[in-house]
Symmetry: C2
Subunit: 520 residues, 2 copies
């Protein structure tokens, strides 16, 4: 078949539209788990120096405030509590745990279509955060975040292809007890999306209560254990090198209950970690490895990732910055360390210090994401929606950031080099023919498999854009938020099951809020 | 000296302010020429496959429309004109030229403080473009660009540290002849900034006229040749693989006149280059190498860079996209090819399809820049100010993008790994001490050397930001644009010299526009 038979100029628009629509999962230009690793901020010797400093720190300085069960498990394997009461880890123990830990596993969605195969350099991007405020969609002012925000943001993310999982982004400040907070946050996430969900739990009791809820939602504990669709996001340390007692109890409960685990070290370079970026990486790796030892001694089959989430200080004020280039570097370095251990890791990237969806937020989100993802981060948390140095979330930004994530994932996919893509024959044929590639068979084919198209990103002519109201991307995103939240009420939780959950747990999200109404 | 003697909490703010101010060039966290290369989208075998396909293309397919002087030079060195009239390059000739070309040279500023040492993986970022419109600063609507815009944008860029050189970004559409256009563009650039400037010339005559102007501005031809502060940005090819006759004549004039040279191939993947990204890289490299052969046969000491500037089509419409992830990939791949040849190269990155400075523009600029810079691009053109898929420029964006460029350059600088930065002793001391790094000597020291601070980027608390008017970054940038353009009228051109230039050339920029007035 010649090029002219394949496609004519006249019929191209129709054919192009048809082809763009006819995409199987395999044909989509980006999908969860594109393989990163082409950006390596550290050389191999540098990686090894960091590793050895990590081992020195764990062995010689150790950790304060280990809980009794942790002390018992670690000392039984050769660890010791030193003269300052700090739990120290022999190198061999750490190395054995790293060697034996699960390197690759599924983090299931509530529905299997959202399962993630984490491990290797496969990159997944999702939400995160514990913001106390949201940029109110209707008023445009920041206000306290509520349980309904958790549910609505879950619904929104449920529709956004490039956000692969949903960590609760905001704190439900309208709950009264920590148990109500943790349980209702878990419920609101679960009710809002069938993607994998992540929640923090204040203590072991709350985590066990959530495990009961999840087991019920799964149809029994064994079903939950087979497909644990929920993660604990556990700050088991208060940097530098001190365990957080209640969080460690929650961690233990999660590990015993089969929950997926993010071992989260959230230090701030220049404040709770060294200002020197290499030192911040060292400390983050040491802190997450200490958590890894604990959960693997509880259950060597546990699905845990090294949550190296260092943030950075603005050293003029000591305040946290979430969108700085130094952050891009430390999280990319941490991602590279997880690759060195060949263990799943997570980092926080895609955040901004800006309070609004503006050029600053777009830039800070994009360069931190582009580097973290190309460094091969297994799980990039906080990758959408977050503003104000993590203190706020914006509805519009989830939609805008979904575009950014699609683009970033396309860069992770990289450049395919084959005889066909090198295009010697295509170039020769075009040069000797009509001089243009638009009608080439290769062009039509590549269009559907190789090119990512933005959802709310504008690529119109200036004239067409002006005619349609000269909107910025925030305005276009607002339209999509409104349309989605007015209509998308997921139904993956069977009503009978939901009734049973409400019977057993103090669910505060009103049923009425979970149906279309005039609130959007 | 102990930590407590070095710094007390009380005096910290004052000391911090003092230290931040006391920065020599060496101490600045970023400077022109940070060394990139840690992002490598291509493997070494892939780089070599591209190289061999390039040589095949140059040898077997060749180029249409070579000008007589080019044919003479190339055929004298073993090239041949094939049966289709295309100029073909033997592999040995291309390899010899690559081996002999200048690998590292100075691209001087008009003032020596702006000299750039290009070569290796040293990254420089500057402007570029030939936009026919600007987003009017006062009305907020797009309008035709004018000569005054060239001058005002040059003045603005003159003050922005992270924009290292000034290529004319917009077309002076208020000029009547191409000679007036080219000469006045050159003059407006030169008058507006003492940084290295770049201009396109329609033909050899115009380029020779500009050379005369530059020689006069330098104080004589030999002084110009010693410090050629101007570049030609020369689209010597009309892709695919066809020379642009008049531009090749301009190129020849530039090479003979000692001008710095960007050998510019500006194809569009899916339209004038293959839709397969590897093929687009192949074609861009072949086209720029053909230019390199020509200028090196004219002058083996010429200061030329491989201007691989592929753009990308939105294959739904055939329109150009300048902010797509596919663009980030092809330009990074091109940067890696220039590294393979160990020759200075340039790419276009930091553009956007968005019409406004918004979250889309921030993101598209940032991820394309972050990857192109970390790939080790010698010169990143179009890296500030450009919108609307290169069809428009925005004053505000130069200021916003200067922040983005500072951040990106910080990521290029990377993570320093030394015994000191690994921070074992610092961590140990803090852990055993007061538990906080903010007062550590290391922190104070690193603050001034390692951390980049944004100019218009907001890092305040939400409350402080709201109190100050809840501005987005565009509004803050507008303030800076207005302040700069109302006051910054560079005076590096001596008035007597300027008068002489005006005597000899038809300078259209009124002297009155070059002094403070109420127009800003």
């Amino acid at each position: 078949m010649t090029v002219d038979q394949t496609v004519t100029r006249r019929g191209r628009a129709a054919r192009v539209a048809e082809l763009a629509a006819r995409k199987t999962a395999d044909q989509r230009p980006v999908r969860p788990g594109m393989v990163g690793g082409r950006y390596q901020p550290l050389t191999q010797p540098e990686v090894e120096r960091i590793h050895h400093t990590v081992l020195d720190l764990m062995e010689q300085v150790g950790f304060a405030d280990a809980i009794p069960s942790m002390v018992a498990l670690v000392t039984a394997k050769g660890g010791r509590v030193n003269e300052r009461g700090r739990l120290c880890y022999p190198r061999a123990l750490v190395e054995d745990i790293v060697a034996g830990a699960q390197r690759s596993f599924v983090m299931p969605g509530f529905l299997p279509e959202h399962d993630m195969e984490v491990g290797g350099s496969r990159v997944h991007t999702g939400t995160g955060g514990a913001a106390p405020t949201v940029l109110d969609f209707h008023t445009g002012h920041y206000r306290d975040s509520q349980l309904l925000d958790v549910y609505d943001l879950a619904r929104l993310v449920d529709t956004l292809d490039n956000i692969h999982y949903f960590w609760r982004p905001v704190v439900a400040r309208d709950t009264q007890t920590t148990l109500d907070l943790d349980l209702n946050t878990a419920y609101a996430c679960l009710a809002g999306t069938s993607k994998h969900i992540g929640v923090s739990y204040v203590n072991g009791t709350n985590c066990r209560a959530a495990l009961d809820l999840f087991a019920m939602a799964s149809g029994g504990e064994s079903k939950w254990r087979a497909r644990p669709f929920g993660s604990i996001s556990c700050c088991h340390v208060v940097p530098p090198l001190r365990f957080a007692v209640e969080s460690c109890e929650a961690l233990e409960a999660a590990a015993r209950g089969g929950m997926c685990i993010t071992l989260l070290s959230a230090a701030q370079a220049g404040a709770t970690a060294p200002a020197a970026l290499a030192g911040t990486i060292v400390q983050a790796v040491a802190e997450t490895l200490a958590g890894l030892v604990f959960v693997n001694l509880i259950d060597p089959l546990c699905r845990a990732n090294l949550g190296t989430w260092p943030f950075v200080s603005d050293l003029r004020t000591g305040a946290m910055t979430a969108g700085s280039p130094e952050l891009a570097l430390v999280v990319s370095g941490c991602a590279q360390m997880a690759r060195f251990y060949d263990l799943p890791g997570s980092v926080a990237a895609g955040m901004t210090d800006s309070k609004l969806p503006d050029a600053q937020s777009g830039a800070e989100k994009a360069y931190t994401l582009a580097l973290a993802a190309n460094a091969g981060s297994t799980l990039i948390m906080e990758s959408a929606g977050m503003h104000a140095s993590l203190l706020g979330a914006s509805y519009e930004s989830y939609v805008i950031d979904n575009d950014i994530l699609g683009a970033v994932q396309r860069t992770v996919r990289g450049i395919e080099v084959t005889d066909e893509t090198l295009s010697f024959e295509v170039i020769k044929s075009v040069v000797h023919g009509e001089g243009h590639f638009l009608g080439e068979a290769q062009t039509i084919e590549r269009m559907k498999t190789d090119y990512v198209y933005p959802g709310v990103g504008d690529r119109q002519t200036t004239a067409a854009w002006a005619e349609q109201g000269a909107q910025d991307v925030r305005e276009r995103a607002r339209t999509q938020v409104r349309q989605t939240l007015a209509t998308h009420y997921p139904e993956h939780l069977d009503p009978a099951l939901d009734a049973k959950i409400r019977e057993h747990f103090n669910i505060l999200l009103p049923r009425a809020a979970m149906r279309p109404s005039d609130r959007w």
